[in-house]
Amino acid sequence: MKKSSGKNERNSGSEKLTFSFFPGCSLNASGHENTMSLLKFCDSVNIELIELEDWNCCGSSSAHSIDHDAAEKLPMRNISLATKGIPLMIACPSCLIRMKSTYLKIKRDKVLKQKYEALWEKPFDEDLEIVHFFEVMNRIRLEDYIDQPGEKLKHLKVAPYYGCMLSMPPDLRFEKNYYGIMEQTLKRLGADPISFGYGKQCCGTYLSVAKPKVAQKVVNEIIFKAMEAGAECLVTACSMCHLNLEIRCSLENPIPVLHFSELLSMALGAQDQKKWFPRHIVDPVPLLKKRGLIVS
């Protein structure tokens, strides 16, 4: 991945924003289409992303489940790689929780801070800002980059699915949470956000591998409830949820699941859908054609 050029053809006058970018393993592998569309989106709204150099896995569920020490040190190394003065943007909600929770623990705990500084031989950055991709929506004005934004995703009935990882564990309870941001953004782009009550239900994460039947039950429930509420598609901001919702759904004719970044990029006029959509198990193309959102 190279640095985005930050070039924006529309001379909007909006200031360029720069973030360090932590993609995480899921976006880097099974969720390529998530990364591609996210980079495309950032490029078209004058955001420069600098990939965190030589980043490692955040430890995910597995480290905190069975190796407490690694669960602490894996996010620590990533924090130590961040550039001072530039906010660190994380696209995967699960990585965000691991990194932010570790960061705040170090900030509170002197002994842990000493451990951090001894391990990575550099001072701990007390002012590092760690944010989810959603934060971008608070820092830019989509209207600066799109003519008639309300026409872009017109009448697309979308059920926003946040997954569980943005529901904060108690140690992050007073951190900013982003419920409602997908609804607000989609509405501004002309889509009809659908409330369905299962938007923060967990997708089953690794039970998809170790207990597929259990995961299938929760996934079917999520998708069924969205369909019942009248949604034509789901949109998610988590690559792992996206994968689970696609591979574990056993309903007949399930609705497609889109990445939030794909819808955003499409609204900004991206033409790269041919690279993203063939990677979806449930093809979103017929629906998007029907709604006149893509041609040919």
């Binding site: 592998a29 099974s30 490692n56 995910s60 597995s62 069975i66 564990p169 239900q201 967990c202």
Partner: protein
């Protein structure tokens, strides 16, 4: 508040110290049990596991499936009126179960976590295809769920080669046990 006498407190104190969570304020209102999306796969409800620990019932607590089936989605702790971080308690019980070498109630889940961490140790990042292959070999079950694996390969959701980090020494440092 619950105050215990006798030696039940040994396990209770240990798990509190490990997790840093004071779950003795649990009201046993069962909000956690009612909200848990995975309760069907558990033998004890989440609040009941806290109760086992409070009563010092170590074997039951460490042998139960709940501590493994809990994925840490925090549905319970978000709903908990006492804001108890229940998944953090489950983490501590898992760690103790592994250290003590008790029979693991959900070996497949431990197998999965082990394979994930093995690829992180090797490459610094996870490698899904290798995780899946080794998980299946370990389980001696190559055929079940084949359809999903093939679907993922076809849609190029499983990269054939792992993405690796450059600084291998850093990863060694992370996994070095004192």
């Amino acid at each position: 508040m619950i105050h215990l006498n006798g030696d039940q407190h040994v396990l209770n104190d240990e798990i509190k110290a490990r997790s840093g969570i004071d779950y003795n304020s649990c009201l046993h209102c069962k909000t956690c049990a009612n909200g848990c999306p995975f309760i069907a796969g558990m033998d004890y409800a989440p609040h009941a596991v806290l109760r086992l620990v409070q009563f010092g019932m170590e074997d039951e607590a460490l042998n139960c499936s709940t501590i493994w089936v809990c994925v840490g989605c925090n549905t319970c702790s978000s709903g908990c009126p006492m804001a108890i971080d229940i998944p953090a308690v489950m983490d501590s019980l898992r760690h103790k179960a592994i250290e003590k070498g008790v029979k693991i109630a959900e070996p497949d889940i431990l197998n999965f976590h082990t394979q994930v961490l093995n690829t992180v140790k090797k490459y610094g990042r996870t490698h899904k295809l290798e995780i899946m292959m080794r998980y299946k070999f370990q389980k001696m079950d190559l055929l079940s769920d084949m359809g999903v694996g093939l679907k993922m390969l076809k849609k190029r959701k499983l990269d054939l080669t792992p993405s690796k980090i450059q600084d291998k020494k850093a990863i060694e440092k992370i996994f070095r046990k004192k």
